[in-house]
């Protein structure tokens, strides 16, 4: 039994020292950040200069009569929606069987598992607008190429998300179906699909949100939608019009996201 020490008089325990590795990592991070900042052309002055830039005057006032005109903004925005809907339906529809082929639990055999996994990670590593630009080059400027690009991308994202859900599904019903003598596809259909369907729908809604966001910028590379208008106005430095488009886009994206989040909350 040690002697009782009056509060406030005893010696404090020594503070543990950081490990040398911690120091090394911290220094490496700082050096790396400073180096990248120099490469990028980081300037503190920008944070001040930006606010006093006279070009901000070009952003205001928003020309509402131009923005709310049907042909200028609303029609391209509708096109954006159409691209997003088509891409979501095609991408998520194709992803349903593909995800089952890519999950460890339900892959018919291991070559299918590995080949699909590698192909998908390559498809996902190419940024979405790279796809759009490539497809615009291949099949021509317009919403058609944009829908193609987003279909590919949402397919890749969906397969990844959904196959991970299937990985985590309860294998019990699948084993039961197999034990009862079922073949592979019916066993998956009755044993796994019902348990993962709610997450599938939730992910599909999430992918739809992603597609709405992506299809806004598709037009910047010539793949249709509202971005086409942003690009056209940018070349003429009509920043007030761009700001007006932004306000509309924000309202629309916000509303869709709220609906989607509410639906997803009910599902999962």
């Amino acid at each position: 039994m040690t002697e009782a020490v009056a509060p406030g008089t005893g010696e404090r325990p020594a503070k543990p020292r950081p490990k040398p590795l911690t120091f090394l990592v911290a220094i490496a991070l700082v050096v790396w950040t400073v180096f990248t900042a120099r490469e990028v052309g980081f300037r503190w002055s920008t944070f001040v200069d930006v606010w006093t830039n006279p070009l901000w005057e070009k952003f205001w006032p928003i020309p509402w009569e131009w923005v709310l005109d049907r042909g200028n903004v609303i029609d391209p925005l509708i096109e954006t929606f159409q691209i997003a809907i088509v891409a979501t339906v095609i991408g998520c529809g194709l992803a349903l069987p593909a995800a089952f082929a890519m999950s460890r639990l339900t892959a018919p055999n291991s070559p299918t598992y590995w080949v699909s996994r590698i192909v998908m990670s390559i498809v996902r590593a190419v940024p979405d607008l790279f796809w759009a630009k490539l497809l615009v080059t291949a099949i021509g400027i317009g919403a058609f190429a944009g829908a193609w690009a987003l279909s590919i991308f949402s397919f890749a994202v969906m397969v990844k998300l959904f196959s991970e859900t299937i990985d985590g599904a309860d294998p019990g019903p699948l084993e039961a179906a197999r034990a009862a003598g079922s073949r592979h596809v019916p066993a998956v259909r009755t044993g796994v699909l019902p348990t993962v369907l709610p997450s599938y729908v939730a992910y599909a809604l999430y992918v739809f949100e992603l597609n709405i966001r992506a299809s806004i910028v598709l037009g910047l590379v010539g793949a249709g939608g509202i971005g086409r208008i942003v690009e056209a106005q940018r070349t003429f430095f009509n920043f007030d019009r761009i700001l007006g488009i932004l306000v509309i886009v924000f309202v629309v994206v916000f509303v869709i996201e709220q609906i989607s989040v509410a639906l997803r909350r009910r599902l999962v």
Binding site: L55, E79, V86, A125, F130, L220, V249
Partner: protein
């Protein structure tokens, strides 16, 4: 058995086919969802000037381009400095992430319901929502109006946009932090700042740091795209090569991009796993860490 079925008719149907009839309402709901999707799809396709002619020729055209890219011409692209440009994309993504992390951390604390009062919290949350709703490419378009074209503008655009997501995720993490350590600091007479610094920050920092890294992975892709509108990086090289239809060079640019993106994803995700697991990379260690941190979690352990 008959008592549970709605009518004799249903009972007959069941006995004839040997099946129990399916309930009607879920079937109608399923049909409605199906119809909505089909109608939406047809409406969508109608706006895409997708004639059957185009639909038929598109896969062939896309495949032809893909064929032209093989074999990729690395020599020309590397001579033109593609490696430097892809590294520039990585730098842009890093600086953007650092900016976003620095700005979003204090904002996230101000947006959490266990730290900050409603009149501060709610406006900041709305700010996160507004920022998240505007894609970084659009942010870049606007910024390019007032910041000189180049890598720095791209980094700023990425930094601004990432504040929205990082702030939201971080504040959710802060809100789920255990209250015990905060009370302990309070009991020792800690001020507000001490409570946040010693009571909350150590609990949430590993997870928040892993969000930063995750955002860095996303930002590498985003900065590659930003190059396409002139904000520096590999995207500009892709555009340049596509303009002159140099498809073997395009193939090389794509392969370099994919290689760098996959490399960064792999490194970053293994670092993230180590951060969350507390340095050992061992999941049981992570569970121990969670148990240690969650005050009430201890009681539930056997």
């Amino acid at each position: 058995m008959t008592a549970t079925l709605p009518s004799d008719q249903a009972d007959d149907a069941a006995s004839e086919t040997g099946r129990i009839p399916r309930p009607l309402r879920p079937r109608l709901a399923r049909l409605a969802v199906f119809l909505v999707i089909v109608v939406g799809f047809i409406w969508g396709v109608s706006g895409l000037d997708a004639s059957f002619e185009r639909l038929r020729s598109a896969p062939g055209d896309a495949w032809a381009i893909l064929r032209l890219m093989w074999p990729p011409d690395f020599a020309t692209v590397i001579e033109r400095g593609a490696i430097g440009k892809v590294l520039e994309s990585v730098y842009i993504a890093w600086i953007g992430t650092v900016i976003a992390a620095t700005l979003s951390l204090p904002l996230a604390f101000l947006a959490s319901n266990n730290i900050s009062p409603a009149f501060i919290r709610l406006p900041i949350r709305q700010l996160f929502n507004v920022i998240r709703a505007v894609p970084e490419l659009i942010v870049a378009v606007v910024l390019l109006g007032v910041v000189p074209l180049g890598a720095w503008a791209g980094a700023l655009a990425i930094g601004l946009h990432s504040i929205g997501t990082l702030g939201k995720l971080s504040s959710e993490e802060i809100e789920s932090a255990a209250h015990g350590p905060v009370e302990a600091v309070e009991a020792c007479g800690g001020t507000f700042i001490s409570r946040v610094r010693w009571g909350v920050l150590p609990q949430v920092l590993p997870q928040i740091a892993s969000y930063w890294l995750f955002r860095f992975e996303i930002n590498v892709r985003a900065s590659a795209v930003l190059g396409m509108i002139g904000a520096g990086g590999i995207g500009s090289e892709l555009i340049a090569q596509l303009r002159f239809r140099n498809f073997p060079e395009v193939g090389a640019v794509l392969i370099i991009t994919v290689a760098v993106v996959v490399f960064i994803d792999t490194v970053s995700s293994s670092v993230r796993k180590r951060i969350i697991a507390g340095g050992s990379g061992d999941p049981s260690r992570m569970m121990a860490l969670i148990r240690d941190l969650g005050g009430s979690g201890l009681a539930r352990q056997p």
